[in-house]
Each structure stands twice: as C-alpha cells, then as structure tokens.
C-alpha cells in the first residue's frame, strides 16, 4: 500500500508538496480549514480531511495535537509541515515522533537548538563559523556597554536579549549617545518582554542577506546547493530573491558553502535546511541563524541546480541515502523569485483581502509559477498575504532580470492590489541591477512614486476619460443610446480589426 503523507499546511506550498508526493508515489492528504473551505490546494489532494476549526481560536495548521490526532485517525505515515505554522516547532516534531509518525524535517532537538538563538550561535562558534562581533551575553550597565562598544567599534547595535521585531533595539553611533539609548532600550525591553537585558553587537550599515541551501541525510552525508540572496526585504519580510548572488566572489562562495556544510555536519543535521549569513560591505560575512524547514524561496535554488528539494526532503525522511554528491551539484544560469503578496505597495504595504476576480500568470518555458489561488479565490484575513510566486530563469543575471520583467508584464490580477508592481520597480532600479542593493533598500530608496510609469499613467488617463465620457456624452445628448453607441465605435472597430 502507498504511504500516506499528510500536509499540515495550505496554499501554494501544499500544492508544491502534493506534486512531490505524487512523484514519489505517496498518497497526498490535506486538511480543509473552514476558514477557506474552497481553497485551491484541496483540488490537488488525493484525500481531504475536514478540520473544523470555526469553534477553535487556533487555525488547524497551528494545532499540533489535533493534527497528530487526525493523522492517527487516518493512518498517516508522514507529516510534511511546509513552512511557517508548525514547521519549526520542536514540540510538534516530538509529538509526531512519539506518535509513530514520520515528521518530514530534522529531529526535534535540532529544531529546538536552532530555534534558540543563543544555542545556535554557540554551536556555530564551536564549528568555527564567524559571528557578528558583540558582547559576550548581556551587558550589566552603561559602562559595560561602552567598554564593549569600544572593543567592537562604532556604530553598534543595542539589542534586547529577549527581543524581536525591533523592540528594545537602538543604533548607537558614538559614545556620547550610549547612555540615552541604553536607558530607552532598557525601558522598552522591560516593558515589552519583562526583561531589560541588553547586549551590544556590531552594527552593519549596509548588510546583505545571503543564505546557503543544504541537504543532509540520516547517515551523516551533507551537501550544499549554493546560495540565495534575499537582501530585498521590508520589515524582515523577503519580497524578492535570487540565486546565485552577484555579491560574493567565487572564493567567498566556496568558503561560505564549506562552512555551511561543516556546521550542518557538526550538529548532525538532516533534511533540508538553510544557513543564513549576513554579508558586510567589505565582504566579511557572519553566521546569523539556521532555518530547519523548506523555505519559501527554495524554487530559485531548484531552478539553477535542477535538484528537487522537496523530493529529497521526503526521501530523507523515509530513510533514503543522499545519493546526490557535492560533485554532482552544478549551478547554471540565474533565477529570480517574485513574491505575489496581496499588499498595497502604494499604501505602506497594507494587506488587501477580498475576491480575486481574475488572475492571469505569465507562461513560458523559463517561468515557474507556484500559486495557491485561481480566478474567484478569496483572500481572507486569517492567513498570510502571499498568494503566489513567480520564478523566472535566465542564462545570466541580466537576462534573468529582463525575463522576469517580461513575465511580470504578463501578470494581471483584477480585484486586489499586489506586490508585483513593487517587484517591477525593483528590477529596474539601478541599485538592484548593479547588485549593490542591501536589506536597507526599501527604507533608503523606495518611494511609492517609483511604482508609476508614464505609459501606464497615460493609459490610466484614457481609461478614466472613457468612463467619464460615456456618462457625460449620454447626459449631453438628447438621444442617449445612439450617442453612447457612437463612443464605442472605436471599441468595435478595434475588435473587428484585431
């Protein structure tokens, strides 16, 4: 009998996993949330399990116990968590293990250790990875902070130990402003987290985000599949990614890749994983963290390496050996991923919810589309705003940029606004084209006026005029019907001439 794989996720990643499940001869089972009972991914599954979550606060995808219970009730062999939700929750992985269900991912201990930043960093140091210079743990007072900052060199970052989301975080440019910043960061951290512990870290003014994809099996084999650059972010949310990165030399690439493998091996890592580095302007790089899940941006790596990461993730979970060796991993060409989020880039990326009246994706051999929606889909406020990904390849970086721009021109969505115009703007920005862009691009360079262009504006003026004129001419005329018709002759002519 076929093994049964339960996907504890939704949208495009659920469909992506179903594809791999079918390729490997597994029965793909999905959960139907009543928050989106008509979601597209349901159509691709072999079996749908209704998970009534209307009476629960938690959507089913966050409810570890119910998922495992459902899995047991439905004779599930494996659970793939996708990304987000429970994908990096060690307790969920442990519960699966305890219940005799194969969790597609690393061990609960690995997830736990990599999830706690201090432990992950300690393990990275042990493996010889460079970390951003900083105080060893929390600094007790302003004087200690000053001492530490002097050693590191200004500017420095004051960071709350318990922190997250930028709270309790201050950039200190010079010693004179340390006291003031220390006090406000301390107060903020105390108020937000009940813990005012602060540590000092070197502040990178123009950092880039470079991450390495790795694959490891349960027999200690680990390989790396090259890097992705994900510097284009807004509030730590990635918006556009590329592979490889134009920002690192072959020598640095080799070094970063080797270190990633060394680190993964040293902690006995298996499954797909990502080692994140932060790259300084001078080419120095530091270990940031490790992600123990499949990532949203995995398709760019798949495109340039030709390796199916989700297939391997499942095969590794099933106990298969990683027969793909480092020597066999070859990178060709360039790939760019644009995230299609229903957010309004003209209005501080405010989320858009509602109906997708019509959606049209570009099609070509060098384009890969991962979508969780179709015509008539509803975007609800319950889940995140990413509805699709457009991944485009080219033989060189410039070709990939050109191809992506062309692809985005063929994208249209009627009903909601998306981040696609934002991606178009990025792809034409000199900072991006020259690969100088950093994680600060959005705050430094982006202005909503950049989303506009003259041709679109002119067509907009025409469309607005046609709408207005139809009414105006109707009112102005004694014989409304005939007048209105006459306006449309141009329209009719165009149709006939087409």
């Amino acid at each position: 009998m076929n093994k049964r794989l339960l996907i504890a996720n939704r949208s495009e990643i659920a469909i992506r996993i179903i594809r791999s499940a079918h390729k490997l001869g597994l029965t793909a089972v999905v959960l139907q949330s009543d928050k989106e009972p008509d979601a597209l991914y349901l159509q691709y599954a072999d079996e749908i399990i209704q998970a009534k979550d209307a009476t629960n606060d938690k959507p089913i995808f966050l409810d570890a116990e119910r998922i495992v219970q459902i899995a047991l009730d439905h004779q599930i062999d494996l659970i793939h968590p996708g990304y987000g939700f429970l994908s990096e929750n060690p307790d969920f992985a442990a519960l699966c293990e305890k219940s005799g269900i194969n969790f597609v991912g690393p061990s609960p201990d690995l997830i736990r250790n990599m999830g706690i930043k201090t432990i992950a960093k300690k393990m990275a140091i042990e493996a010889g990875l460079p970390l951003v210079p900083g105080s060893d743990g929390a600094v007790a007072d302003v004087q200690k902070a000053l001492d530490s900052a002097k050693k590191i060199g200004y500017p420095v970052l004051l960071k709350a130990s318990a922190g997250g989301g930028g709270r309790g975080m201050r950039i200190v440019e010079k010693p004179e402003t340390m006291e003031r910043n220390f006090k406000s960061a301390f107060d903020e951290a105390t108020a937000a987290f009940g813990n005012g512990d602060l540590f000092v870290e070197k502040y990178l003014e123009n950092p880039k985000h470079i991450e390495f994809q790795i694959l490891g099996d349960k027999f200690g084999n680990v390989i790396q599949l090259g890097e992705r650059e994900c510097s284009l972010q807004r509030k730590h949310q990635k918006l556009l990614e590329e592979a490889p990165s134009a920002s690192i030399s072959p020598k640095t690439r080799k070094k970063m890749g080797k270190m990633a493998v060394k680190f993964a091996k040293s902690i006995g890592y298996f499954s797909a994983g990502t080692i994140e580095y932060i790259l300084d302007e001078d080419g120095t790089f530091y270990f940031m963290e490790m992600n123990t899940r499949i990532q949203v941006e995995h398709p760019v790596t798949e495109m340039v390496t030709g390796v199916d990461l989700v297939d391997w993730q499942i095969k590794i979970a099933l106990g298969q050996k990683l027969t793909l060796t480092q020597a066999k991993v070859k990178t060709t060409g360039w790939a760019i991923e644009c995230r299609v989020n229903t957010e309004d880039p003209q209005n501080r990326f405010s989320p858009q919810t509602g109906f997708i009246e019509k959606i049209r994706f570009p099609q070509n051999t060098n384009i890969r589309i991962e979508t969780g929606v179709q015509n008539g889909s509803v975007v609800t406020p319950y889940f995140d705003s990413m509805i699709a990904k457009i991944i485009v390849q080219g033989s060189t970086r410039q070709e990939a940029i050109d191809n992506t721009l062309e692809a985005l021109e063929d994208f249209s969505l009627i009903g909601l606004k998306t981040t696609v115009p934002f991606c178009r703007t990025v792809l034409q920005d000199p900072e991006f084209v020259s690969a100088r862009y950093t994680t600060r691009w959005v705050t430094q360079f982006f202005n909503p006026n950049m989303l506009e262009n003259e041709d679109d504006e002119l067509i907009g003026a025409l469309a607005a005029t046609i709408i207005y004129a139809a009414e105006y001419l109707q009112i102005a005329s004694d014989a409304p019907a005939s007048r209105n018709e006459s306006l449309n002759v141009w329209v009719l002519n165009k149709r006939i001439n087409k």
Partner: protein
C-alpha cells in the same frame, strides 16, 4: 506610434484628465478613430472591455485597467496593478473653471485682431469649434489679396465678432480663441 493630429470639430469630445500633482492630459475621443492624447493620435488598441475593466494594447504591451472608485468627477483607475487618480473635466467645464486663466495662457494674444484693414470673405469655423494651431479660421481680403487668419494656438473658438462680408479696420477684434494648450 502617434502621429500629429488635427482635431475634429466636436469640442464635446475633448476632455482634460488631471492628476493631483497637476499633470494634465488632453484627451479627444473621436467617434470613429484612435484617441488623441495631448495632440497626438495614439495607436492604442482596445482589446477587451467588461464591467469597469478595460484591456488595452499599446507599443506592443498590454495594459490592464480597472475602475477602482468614482466620486463625481474624481476617478481612480488601476493600471497594471498601480492606482492613478484623475479629476476629469469636459473642455467646457475646464474653461469655465478658469484653469487656463490661472496659468496666464488665456491672454490677449489669443484674441485675434485684424492685421490690416479689409473685408471678411469667409468664416470657416463656428463658435465652440475646436481649432488646431495654424488652422485657418477666416479669410480676410485686403488689397485684392485673400489672407487666411490662422489659430495662434490649439483651442476652442469663443466669440466671433465679425460676419461674412463685414469690413474691418486694423486691430479690430475678429475672433476669441481659448487656448487648450497646457
């Protein structure tokens, strides 16, 4: 691409779309040919139209337009995913609102005066007609020669102060033209 265009006569088909930043488009919607935008006929194909949605093709590219909102003469349209807001005026309300006066465009030079004494032999246009710069408005006979008096700007014919057969003196006011050049 567009070609330089001669306005047709019907001023009720000329509109002005203006953005918040003051940028203006003069759009003429002829009955049976391409739209004329800022004096240029544009080869814009109308591919699809449904409720509040338009698909155009221009310069080899597609433009998806969607009506986002309408409030009186304010219209917001989304073109290829980006919103643009316009306020719309018919030519007449545009002129009436004195928007042209504010720019100082509507000055004496657009009031056509007779360059010499003579006799009006023909008037080609009527009040309210659209006129293109350089286009003859009337014919004036002086010293056995017929002279065509042409429009100094793109505009709409205002009051015509003379009639066919009338004799005029030098500097007599002949025709008022309201400029629509932005």
């Amino acid at each position: 691409m567009g070609t330089s265009y001669i306005y047709k006569r019907d001023a009720s088909r000329l509109f002005i779309a203006m953005r918040e930043n003051g940028k203006r488009f003069k759009i003429y919607l002829p009955k049976e040919s391409m739209p004329v935008i800022d004096n240029m006929e544009q080869d814009i194909n109308f591919i699809e139209q449904s409720d509040f949605q338009y698909l155009f093709e221009w310069k080899g590219k597609r433009y998806n337009c969607e009506l986002v909102s309408r409030d009186q003469n304010k219209t917001t349209v989304k073109v290829n995913g980006v919103e643009y807001k316009f306020s719309l005026e018919s030519l007449f309300s545009y002129v009436r609102h004195g928007m042209i006066d504010k720019d100082g465009k509507q000055t004496d030079e657009n009031n056509i005066k007779s360059p010499m004494p003579g006799k009006i032999v023909d008037i080609f246009l009527a009040e309210g007609d659209l006129v293109n710069v350089g286009e003859p408005i009337l014919s004036l006979e002086a010293m056995k020669m017929q002279n065509e008096i042409t429009a100094p700007c793109n505009g709409v014919i205002g009051k015509i102060h003379v009639s066919t057969g009338q004799s005029v003196m030098k500097d007599d006011l002949l025709v008022e033209v309201t400029s629509i050049d932005v």
